[in-house]
């Protein structure tokens, strides 16, 4: 039987550019899921609260730059937070569950602050407000969107704080953001055009036939921003705090590397394709290899790409209330400007820019914390956070199955000796179950919730340890 006429096989190569475009449409999109906790173990233990009363370990650089003015003489803190994401996607139809590969990620932090003059403090912080990594099995249906995503954005922030009076403190500092993004995904042969107007799917190649692996990795990108804060001591027991962290735009350049994968398919019957006879029993890989797709001048040759991402602005306000000499209550509200992330513009090497609509929404986060001074050497901390997801229903994908979250934390600060503290914290993250998709829309079309085909269930365990010296 004749199944194609006219076109010849070399045309196939040009058609694979369509595949490249669909690949680039899948660059990682940031979301609430990549927002990390406010840094520092002490802060984590109290549910991330501290805009009005930052910890005394120098982490005020990140929580509220004005808080550095509370440092007595010197504060240095160094530690790390371990994130272990767990989760799954359950397909609506097959009811098969695909689990996230558990891969712990260690995020270090470093803070230092010193009182340079009466009422004047300087400090420095290195912390990661946006980051994390998700890994799905390569057999996952969503692997054509992404099976591994990594975003690391470190903020380096020198800070100056000044105490105007016993009641008012202010602080500010520039922020240098250093960021890398990496994405791994597979290409689906069924979506590639075999002949003009005839995708491989029309020749029967099943949806989800992986034939190429793609790794896109950016070089380090740099961006500048600023962070300002204010503290007002209303009464001896009540203090309010405000802070604003500006958005930072990062221009990424990177490399896309393609490598072939075996489809495992064998042509079951002798067919005539574009005038060439392909005998029964021929592996499909042989047919694809004959096209030279991965050669240096081929359509799937390694290439450069550029894109731009903006780390969103944050505004936070909070209060602290010392209810008893032993008990302090904290409350923070944070607004994060994800709404700025309406679209992603990608500029692939040698082709027109591609625009992807994201339509993220600004998020609101509520945090409460409770500090209990159990003894002169032991502080017990509790916290609860409710964080809104940024992604609309149409962009809940393997890249980032974003949703609202509830987080509870438990922490402790143990004074080991004169000025030396050991902070420990644990947090359980329970993200709301949310329907999402495992496929991208066809190139040129917008995603819709109708593409959602299953349930993402995500959670995480977070543990943190910090040693600090405060004099």
């Amino acid at each position: 039987m004749r199944i194609a006429t006219g076109a010849v096989l070399p045309r196939l190569r040009k058609r694979f550019l369509v595949g490249l475009c669909s690949l680039l449409l899948s660059l990682p999109a940031l979301g609430q899921g990549f927002s990390l906790n406010p840094p520092g173990t002490c802060t984590l233990g109290r549910g991330g609260t501290g805009v009005a009363q930052p910890c005394a370990d120098g982490s005020a650089v990140a929580l509220n730059p004005a808080g550095l003015a509370l440092v007595n003489r010197l504060a240095v803190a160094s530690g790390a937070t371990l994130y272990l994401s767990r989760g799954s996607f359950t397909d609506d139809y097959t009811q098969q569950e695909t689990r996230l590969e558990e891969h712990p990620v260690l995020v270090p932090h470093l803070f230092a602050a010193v009182q340079a003059a009466p009422g004047l403090a300087v400090g420095f912080g290195a912390y990661m407000p946006y980051g994390l990594e998700l890994r799905w099995p390569r057999t996952f249906a969503g692997s054509f969107v992404s099976y591994r995503t990594r975003v690391q954005t470190t903020y380096l922030q020198p800070t100056l704080a000044y105490r105007f009076s016993d009641r008012v403190m202010v602080g500010a500092g520039p922020v240098l953001a250093v960021s890398t993004v990496a994405l791994w995904q597979q290409l689906d042969l069924s979506q590639q055009e075999a002949l003009p107007g005839v995708p491989f799917a029309a020749l029967g190649i099943p949806a989800g036939t992986a034939f190429a692996n793609v790794k896109m990795e950016s070089d380090e990108a740099y961006g500048l921003g600023g962070h300002v804060g204010m503290l007002i001591q209303v009464t001896d027991q009540f203090r309010i705090g405000l802070r604003y962290l500006s958005a930072i735009t990062l221009n990424y350049t990177g490399t896309i590397r393609f490598s072939p994968l075996s489809t495992g398919l064998i042509i079951p019957a002798t067919v005539e394709l574009s005038g060439q006879t392909i005998p029964a029993g021929t592996p499909l890989d042989v047919v694809l290899a004959s096209l030279g797709l991965f050669r240096s001048q081929g359509p799937l040759a390694d290439r450069d790409a550029e894109t731009e991402l903006t780390m969103p602005a944050q505004f936070a306000a909070g209060f602290s209330w010392q209810a008893t000499p032993e008990l302090t209550l904290l409350f923070d509200y944070q607004w994060t400007g994800w709404g700025e992330f309406e679209r992603l513009v990608i500029e692939p090497d040698g082709s027109d820019p591609i625009v992807r609509i994201q339509d993220y929404r600004n998020t609101h986060t509520l945090r409460t914390g409770l500090l209990f001074q159990a003894s002169s050497i032991l502080e017990v901390r509790l916290g609860y956070t409710y964080a809104q997801g940024a992604a609309p229903s149409k962009t809940v994908t393997p890249l980032l199955p974003d949703a609202n979250r509830n987080l509870i934390t438990l922490g402790t600060g143990w004074r080991l000796g004169r000025g030396v503290m050991l902070d420990l914290a644990y947090q359980y993250v329970r993200q709301d179950d949310r329907r999402g998709r495992v496929v991208d829309p066809a190139p040129g079309t917008e995603p819709t919730p109708a593409l959602n085909s299953g349930l993402y269930q995500i959670g995480a365990h977070v543990a943190s340890v910090t040693v600090s010296v405060s004099l």
């Binding site: 009811q95 029309a202 020749l203 398919l265 032993e326 329970r430």
Partner: protein, 393 residues
Amino acid sequence: MNRNRWHMTLRPLRWGLLGLLLLALGCHDEGLLPPEPTGGALFARYVAIGNSITAGYQSGGINATLQQQAYPVLLARAMGTPFNLPLLRDPGCPPPLVNILTGERLGGLPEDFCAYRQVPPPRIINNVAVPGAKVIDVLTNLGEGTSANTLTLLLLGGRTQLEATAEAHPTFVSVWIGNNDVLGAAIAGNPALITPVNAFQQRYTQMLNELQAMGVQGGLLIGVANVTVIPHFSPGIAYAQAEQAGAFPPTFDVADNCATTGATALVPFSYAFGELLAAAMQGQSVTLDCVNDPRLLSPDETATLVQTVQQYNAFIQQQADRLGWAYLDPNVKLLELKNQGQIPIFPNVNSSEPFGPYFSLDGVHPSSAAHRLVAQEAAAAINAVYGTNLQVQ
């Protein structure tokens, strides 16, 4: 700090902790789950395995319209379960016949035309049947005795029916396979082409074992049709009577040995009309010989075919009983229709339904009306075993 003060101070902490735990644990939102099939959880994922009949092939062709009229589609509708088809683009692959005498096909296109598949393809395919498939083809696409063809590629890619089935993680399957293990022999008039019963049984068993390994919870096995009953085959005497009635040109001779009133050879329509009559129409003198022509099915050969089908079906029914699955013998209804005269002994070429209302224009494949009948019979067989209430409209 004394014990009482500890206790008083920790009280809010305790309640706070409990509240936080309740908030964080949350609960599963049932609204996030997909609805259960109206026919019951047994039919959550239904896959149909088979050959051309199950695929929806009619009148020597197949396209999306015909695929959507196939009995598994009607059955799935009764089950209230999603059922994805590997839909072909119109006019088909190949387009179905519109005239059995001229061989004209839909759109005036040739027999080797193929309009490919519709895109985008469904992620999961529920009707994995492939025209031309024998039992062995459910297991493998390559090797001796297999009959993979272009439609095997177009409908399933490089996968076998079982491989495509596994991707759906079926809870329920229907299997109507085996007709081609005897049909080819019948049309060629050569019983040597019949799949031996022991090979049939071995392959059928392997297929069922693999389905069970997939976790299938229930199924329907449909027996092999008695291909000698289908209107594609007519007794020699019918040709003799047609000749007497002046249905053939003078160049088409029907030998006297066809006119006997006893058991005579069965004449395949594709041979008598497709080859002999076509040659006669071009002026060539041809003779239909009901005794000496090896292309016809002699009474002994017919008996062999019928006996093989009976052996196949005895085995299939035994397997259905072993598994606790439903079984449907299609020959009960087929013979009933034959006895009612709904299946003509000789095609009425002047009718829009030359092979009657229950067979399409090739005289081999069931019409859409017959698919409805099969679906109704299948639903009844399933209901009888599983206590369900499937109703095919």
